[in-house]
Chain length 328, copies 2
């Protein structure tokens, strides 16, 4: 059965769920008390013919997690008006096609910002103070055998450059201020609402920082924003934390510089070809690797479910949506 | 040669270095430009006869790191007036004997507080958000194979009970406020200078907390302060972080509760029988183990070296010492 809605729910608005088979979110249970759900994965038809047969009248689509939504799929949906995203970044959605069609796109808004920021700070202290490496050292029995343990370095007083001072970057800055760090930032535009020094060029920010916290969106402009030149500017004691997207950092260059000790360390929640992580990183003691879960706690997931539900309700009530992505 | 000072430095005040052979601090290089250094480990004589032969006039002794200073050793030094400690806690020094003799004891003062607090926060986020466990997961290749990864829980909004609101506990509180945590504390006395709710009994603090941050000194009164009753009061989702001393927590009870999942997790920088860590902990995924290095960075070590030097200079100039331990 393609349309899972029974006749008693036929009066409910129709929404299309777009997801990879591995993203079977509990969100469906919340949505189906308010909407009729159309999920192509519940049909044996191929996606294209399913959409052509059943989704011509669909006005609203929800994208689960990071399921890629291509221009080809969007073109099969002539009535589409809104794409509700459930992630902080929306680089998996063809924003250009949405913009051309005038389709509104929403994201996770603030729902994930605190959890990502917490995780970014944890990754930073972990790299500087060697927390995960220390855990490996104790668990392997080496503490008892060898005694001495390589020291890390102090967080307080470090110059931290935030790349992308949006919802997440702002929360990172607020936390690191409490540790006595000195904050500066780079973003597309200077923000009049904050006092931190602004650098229009990320390379200048790197030159004047001990640490780069990469918190911006991945777009065609920001792909490999953290390139060899930026990493060299950061210098051999420098630390990079990436909680944005893997594509923001030139991963191969980062690996080269880490291996040659031309950069101090890295805390990475995201990678260019997730879940494939370059094996060279596994051999390094000055990196902390995280399986792209900086955003996720039960609390943040519940928050994004409620935000997604609210966005859909607003759409069908002709009210302003809660977390619209600005398409520039 | 017992006394390493040459004749040209005979006018310098004499200090006795007390250390385990494994603690050969660079501090000696700093001290010997200001003092004559007496180091029993540079002699082949046994300690007792060395002290009886060479140290009867010693007024000042410096203890490197956590080298145990017993009452028996102190009794061999009839002229001793000051013991300069280089650690935050001084449970390795027989404080009772010092008090009886009227010997002043100093510690690391504020020098280590920021670094310990940074590490305590990192251990907490690590346990809650499974940072080290995630690093193990990625490095072992399981992310690619299995995909899904157990989520942690959110830091913001958690009720954090600080056990011991001294230099370290206060810095921990300040940092966790920036993450949106709700702070309360237990200490010997209510502090008029802070607004956080005070609990006279640590068990009541545990009942009203999601997390306990153990930051107090180890004394005969605080040994096993975090006992089974306190851990049960904290509850099955509760997390304990210990950056004080191993003896503050009943380690065997903690292991039992962790294994039976009657407590949520633990971040431990200190253990009862360091560097021996109970093997049961190595099998647990909800603990983060650190080799008693929360205090140590090159920056904090330099700070404590300078503080120790300042304390010794003050002593020999009859000026007030910088970081006297209150002996109650």
């Amino acid at each position: 059965m393609a349309d899972q809605a029974g006749s008693e729910t036929n009066h409910l608005p129709l929404i299309l769920v777009h997801r990879l088979p591995s993203f079977d979110l509990a969100l469906t249970n919340i949505l189906q008390t308010h909407f009729r759900i159309l999920d192509p994965l519940h049909s044996s038809q191929p996606l294209d013919s399913f959409l052509t047969s059943h989704a011509q009248s669909v006005r609203a689509l929800i994208v689960y997690a990071l399921s890629p939504l291509t221009a080809d799929t969007i073109r099969l949906l002539p009535s589409l008006e809104v794409v509700v995203g459930t992630s902080a970044g929306v680089d998996h959605i063809d924003i250009s096609e949405c913009r051309n069609r005038g389709i509104t796109v929403t994201n996770a808004g603030d729902a994930f910002a605190e959890d990502v920021a917490d995780c970014a700070v944890a990754l930073l202290i972990d790299v500087l103070r060697r927390v995960s490496a220390g855990d490996r050292y104790v668990r392997s029995g080496l503490w008892r055998l060898r005694g001495e343990y390589t020291l890390g370095s102090k967080l307080g007083g470090k110059r931290v450059g935030i790349v992308g001072l949006g919802r997440i970057g702002s929360q990172v800055a607020q936390r690191l201020m409490a540790f006595g760090c000195i904050i500066a930032y780079n973003s597309r535009k200077k923000k009049s609402s904050v006092q931190y020094p602004y650098y229009a060029k990320v390379c200048d920010l790197a030159t004047n920082s001990d640490i780069l916290m990469v918190c911006c969106s991945l777009t065609s402009e920001t792909h490999h924003l953290i390139n060899k030149e930026v990493m060299k500017a950061l210098g051999k004691e420098g630390v990079i934390v990436n909680v944005g997207r893997g594509g923001l950092v030139d991963e191969q260059e980062l690996i080269q510089l880490l291996t040659r000790e031309e950069i101090g360390g890295a805390g990475l929640d995201v990678f260019e070809e997730e879940p494939d992580v370059p094996g060279e990183l596994f051999a390094l003691d000055n990196v902390v690797l995280s399986p792209h879960k900086a955003v996720l706690t039960p609390e943040s997931i519940e928050a994004v479910f409620q935000l997604s539900l609210a966005n859909l309700k607003c759409f069908f009530s002709n009210e302003p949506l809660r977390s619209v992505v600005q398409q520039e």
